[in-house]
Amino acid sequence: MPPKGSKKGHPAAPKQTLVLDNGAYTLKAGLVPGGASAPPTYADCTVIPNCIARSTRDKRTYIASQLSSCKDFGELAFRRPVERGFIVNWEAEKAIWEHEFLQEGEGLRCDPKETNLVLGEKPNCPRELQRNCDEIVFEQFEFAGYYRAIGATLNAYNSPDNSSLSALPQECLLVIDTSYSDTTILPLYNGQLLQSAVRRLTIGGKLLTNYLKELSSLRHYNMMEETYLLNEIKEAVSFVAPSIQQFSKDLDRTWKGRVGDKRPLDSSIVLDYVLPDYERSSHGYARPHDPVKFRMRKGLQPQQGPREDLLPLGNERFAVPELLFSPTDIGVQEAGLPEAIMQSLNSLPEMLKAAMFANIVVVGGNALIPGFVERLESELRMLVPSQYLLNVKKAEDPIKHTWLGAARFASQPELLKEVLVSKAEYDENGSTWLVKKFAGGSK
């Protein structure tokens, strides 16, 4: 490595790169050293909540990773700088970035003047927001170099076996990014996004959590303030029914029956979620439904000794994630995910379409819902012409997968050099130029 500033006018590029997948729910961040070293792995990625939370009970405010020190999640209110996947509120985002990357402390620290930033964003971002982002990155944080890309496209640099680095992206890849804000369908050709075929569904993890919150509040207790708890419950108990037929069967098995004809609830599906009381426990857990204990809940609890509050979960377990496959169930006028994938690919040439079907990867937190990928594959198989190969794969770690792709991209200096914009270039050309450069020229 030549010493800094050895070439005139071209100061040596900084050695390390901060790779940041700035999600609405969590930041996925990690430092990637430049030059040849071992390829980055999932372990290099830190997942940080992207929020500022305030508890009305202990009157404390938690910034991002401080949330792990929180003991009482009751009535926790969140402020999220990212709305629908785009960074909207820079006041909060700046506070979080400063808290996580700049201020003194342990963990992920870097000096922006010595660091490149590779920032992943969502597709179809309004230009004004992109411009704001660029201006803050260079004028407020003063990163040395910067590349803003649509995060999901960098998934193309993940190789199937994840062993060696390759400079070439996968030729045809269909990324299904089912995240907190929404679900997007992104066909990639040689690592480039086919912009005209991008499709988005409103249904994301946030909507599922809010829907479960609404259902539980209507049917059992008022939980409208307990977003954190309901998100935890959703992650613990929800599953996707394997098919539409099985969905109806499960719905029957969890039904309480008619007035004169009560049915016992099927305890293979119905669960009791033991709610945390935030005194002895700060997290709840699920266990099979027990009618005796559930009846005891109504007034017959012992005065002394442990009391417990139960939230029974029946059809909520599978009817909530079902929205991904049938958004019309709550009146969202959109096709389900498999049909939306067909809508996206039908605008592409036949050959490309066939290649896309053979290489589908699902990333994002909702992919962790059990049965999601299986249902997607079986429903797609019914829509895809039979002579085409269909291969739907869940990323090994759906949450960190996009970050890993970006990190593998950023750990190859020759790739990074092509796209990186330095602060000097920005100062000379301005933000309008930069927005155009990142929009038009990933080549």
Binding site: A95, R127, E135, Q140, S196, L215, R258, V332
Partner: protein, 250 residues
């Protein structure tokens, strides 16, 4: 007498999508849009709602509910940033950090801008096209204002041309035609869609009908509430619905 002419300026251009009009009272052409005699609507041909259509009130309720479900931030309280807030380094940064706008404001802005772009430069673009047609060597500019180039429908001629072997053994009919370089380049050069345009389309009309669920317990909604049209599964849930959620008086 001096000649006075009102020159068109930017302020006189009304925003796209709406305009002030004079209210001239009863206008038979608008009755169909906003009928006042709702009770007789059923008697008119095509006036009555069919089973699956929703009333305006139900549609508003659904839209409001979806907006509620997909909201990002807590509406009740604004959470201040704790600790000392550093001074923004430049004027630009200060402006951006102080924005209190939400995503819907930005998206509305984008919509309005697109509408203006589509409305305003129409004549100029036509003139440009004429100029281009006379100067054939002029390269096409992949500028951001032009709409996405539509992909030309693919012709199937290439794949059938070279089939010399027994048509029964040929697998060429199963293979899709090879990629066209120009087509790919057009696809790659296409500008990003706007946020609204990238939205998934509603399901195809021939698909399975919309499923209805009980508003109270989530089982199949087989009975319609007579007052508000919400579905319930049985008498028990109907009672619960009427006690709490019936939209009739909401």
């Amino acid at each position: 007498m001096p000649h006075v002419e009102v020159l068109p300026n930017s302020a006189s251009v009304s925003a796209p999508g709406w305009t002030y009009v004079v209210d001239r009272g009863y206008d038979p052409s608008k009755v169909a849009i906003n009928p006042k005699d709702r009770k007789r609507a059923a008697a008119r041909a095509g006036g009555a709602r069919t089973d699956n259509e929703l009333s305006a009130r139900q549609q508003t309720a659904i839209a409001r509910r979806i907006a509620e479900l997909s909201r990002d931030n807590d509406p009740k309280q604004s959470i201040p940033i704790p600790g000392k807030i550093g001074v923004p380094k430049t004027q630009n940064a200060r402006r951006i950090i102080q924005y209190q706008r939400q995503i819907k404001h930005w998206l509305d802005d984008e919509e309005a801008q697109l509408a203006q772009q589509q409305a305003a430069p129409e004549p100029r673009r036509a003139a440009q096209a004429r100029r281009v047609s006379t100067m054939i060597s002029m390269p096409a500019t992949p500028s951001e204002a032009t709409p996405a180039p539509t992909v030309a429908p693919y012709t199937q001629s290439q794949s059938t041309a070279s089939s010399q072997i027994d048509p029964l053994l040929s697998i060429e009919s199963l293979m899709p035609p090879p990629l066209d370089k120009a087509e790919i380049d057009a696809l790659l050069a296409a500008p990003p869609l706007s946020y609204a345009a990238s939205h998934a389309a509603p399901p195809a009309p021939g698909g399975p009908p919309q499923r209805h669920f009980c508003d109270n317990c989530g089982y199949w909604g087989v009975i319609k509430c007579l007052k508000c049209g919400t579905r319930v599964c049985g008498l028990e849930c109907k009672d619960a619905h009427e006690a709490t959620r019936c939209l009739k008086w909401a």
